[in-house]
Amino acid sequence: MSAAPDVLPRPRLALRGITKAWPGILANDRIDLDVLPGEIHAVLGENGAGKSTLMKIIYGIVKPDAGTVQWEGQPVRLASPAEARRLGLGMVFQHFSLFETLSVAENVALALDAAQAGPGLPARIRSVSERYGLALDPSRRVHTMSVGERQRVEIVRCLLQVPRLLILDEPTSVLTPQAIERLFDTLRQLAGEGCSILYISHKLDEIRALCQRATVLRAGRVTGECDPRRETTASLARMMIGGDLPHPRHRAAAAGAAALVVDSLDLRADDPFGTALRSISLTVRAGEVVGIAGVSGNGQAELLAALSGERRLARRDAITICGMPVGHLNAAQRRARGLAYVPEDRLGRGAVPEMSLTENVLLTSRHQGLVSHGLVRAGAARERAARTIASWDVKASGPEAAARSLSGGNLQKFIVGREIGQAPKVLIAAQPTWGVDIGASAQIRQALIDLRDAGAAVLVVSEELDELIEICDRLAVIAQGRLSPARAVGDTDAEEIGLLMAGAAASFDRGTAFVR
């Protein structure tokens, strides 16, 4: 790291001329990349810039069409992740590769050699997770865990193999500010032990705080390399998006009548690892954005299921939309009363992976003039899909593209566009910009604010505090299934809310946070 440029040590990983084309798109175009031993190296880029494809090539999931990979100076051809792991590569994915029905220890064992996956494994999981401050119960089943907790499994799984190069894809999107600091300490500790780290992100502040070198990708090509510590956020953004950073316009709220009211909602958890909701009360008025902050696993999933109608309630007036009690109604019936919802899971919940974008428009808009006499008006649905694609600049081959063929950020733009396109009176958005790049995030946040200005009530449930503070008028914190009263954002700050989130989580038996 401190070596002079002319006597750089031999790179641990060297890519030369890596090229990969997907049908209709050149994802990687002659990419060169060197990662030195013990270096924390950022790969920075927008949605569709080719970051994920490049990482999948390094990790042996995808074969490049051309180019070479050198590991410790030796040319290698990585045919599978197992081979990559044998060489000493570890990867923490943005979309986790965990089996939901298996326990933490079983999931970890699947990634290890038979020799390592013996009976002592749970104890080793415990010791590694404690050493790096990533509290985990090895016997817990993954399907009961939140996104943040699942990420911990992925990280611990990699650390158990003592990797020499660790790849992290957007790792901080689900952490509190304090937990991010702790993760950075872990990563610096790892780098200090000689492990190289490839850090993929679009969060410029984090990259400036953590990384020694950054390679910037735009539209599949390397557009720059720099020392992020010597750059400003604005200069990094310019390299990344080839223009200036968009800033959301934010006027003072002109809140009107109560649009979404939750009245002392109590709800038992569906499964033994879930979180029960305890007398939650919340009011979101027309023309305001209310945020709910919190570490995942504190009742967000249960609250969102109750709000969206995926879980119906016994008491009809526990939830009212524009004065109408809707607690007993299902999701479609609540939509008919003006609710729209952007869920956290995009593939499989917010969109059907195998279906076209046209059909995915139908998924939530089918009772909005797209059906007559029980038959689908395919032309109207296709037109609506095309309109969403065009106005949100979604990168897709067209309305007939399968949802699973879109990148995560593009699919999220499509889903947000679809929901906002219904002109809802109340919009609920869960983690609306999780893993979405800076340009698309700004676009989504701006759209939420514009919707508010148009008179809708907006509720955002997110673990990204910066985002909540940027777009919300009022903010509440959820911890252990209880919701704090919402306070005006001007009366509080990130540090205070972060402590509230983390403090509540730390007092929790299960120890759900990356806290000291």
Partner: protein, 359 residues
Amino acid sequence: MRITLEARPEPSRAAMLLTPLLAAIATLVVGFVIFEAFGKDPVAALHAFFVQPVATRYGVGELLLKAGPLMLIATGLAIGYRANVWNIGAEGQLTLGAIAGGGLALAAGDAVPATLLLPAMIVAGALSGMAWAAIAAWLRTRFGANEILTSLMLVYVANFLLSWLVHGPWRDPEGYNFPQSKLFADAALLPSLLSGTRLNAGFLVALAAVATAWVFVRRSVWGFEMRVAGLAPAAAAYAGISSKRNVWLGMLAGGACAGIAGVNEAAGPIGQLLPSMSPGYGFAAIIVAFVGRLHPLGIAFASLLMSLLYLGGESAQVNLALPSAVTGLFQGTLLFFLLAADVLVNYRLRVQRGLPAAP
């Protein structure tokens, strides 16, 4: 060199059309080996299997006669299968349809004209097939009982019911004590469709069911909702799609089609009620539904193929003295390749060579 499977970003349409061809070629190759091993001339064997059954007008009639109930039942089952509603009891629903339609025919005798009686029999068959399926649907939506088990168990109940009827109250008093009903009157028999064959108007009912199912699956909002439920249950809950309605629709569609198939058998080739009304159409239709990729048009072709395999198997046994196990083996080979080749729709083969894998 290694051969690996690589996921396609989108299902390949070309592969969807080419895989049946590939499966056919692979089956022919394996068939050659099988017949050669049994000392039979493979060309003659394949001729007996695929050409001889349909070489005559009568043979074509038989092909369509057998394809009809398979097509009808598989079409109904596929509607539920797309939504992960697993009705395995079509054989029982068929039996109930035959009982209701046949009971009506026996009660009417000569008194009612065909223009009234036949539609009434079909409606009665559909309703009773639906009623039988509704038991499993209700158990599933009310108590969460697995419809695979309940619908399958109801098959045996239905068979005993029919058996009791033809041994007891509905037995033909002039039937020399055989367990069978009286022959139906002419008014209760489906009109012939092709002279010189046994093919009857029931085949048209099957075609109509295929067309209706196509509209339902591809165009109707309920069909759309059922596809969503099958592909992504979480997305269905998110969109407020009623899983109970899907269970009911899926079970009732299968029950109605199977019930009509039962009437068609009773009022078609059989012409009376016997202790068994079907050579297992209700179970074979499950295979037809999957070979046809749960798509109405695919099912139409798959039912013709299945029917040809039945006839070809008989023909090979008769003409070449091949053991029935060998014809079964050959049929299984074709189905195996058809379903296995499916993987190429969503994956592509990649042959890698050059640098050895990392040490």
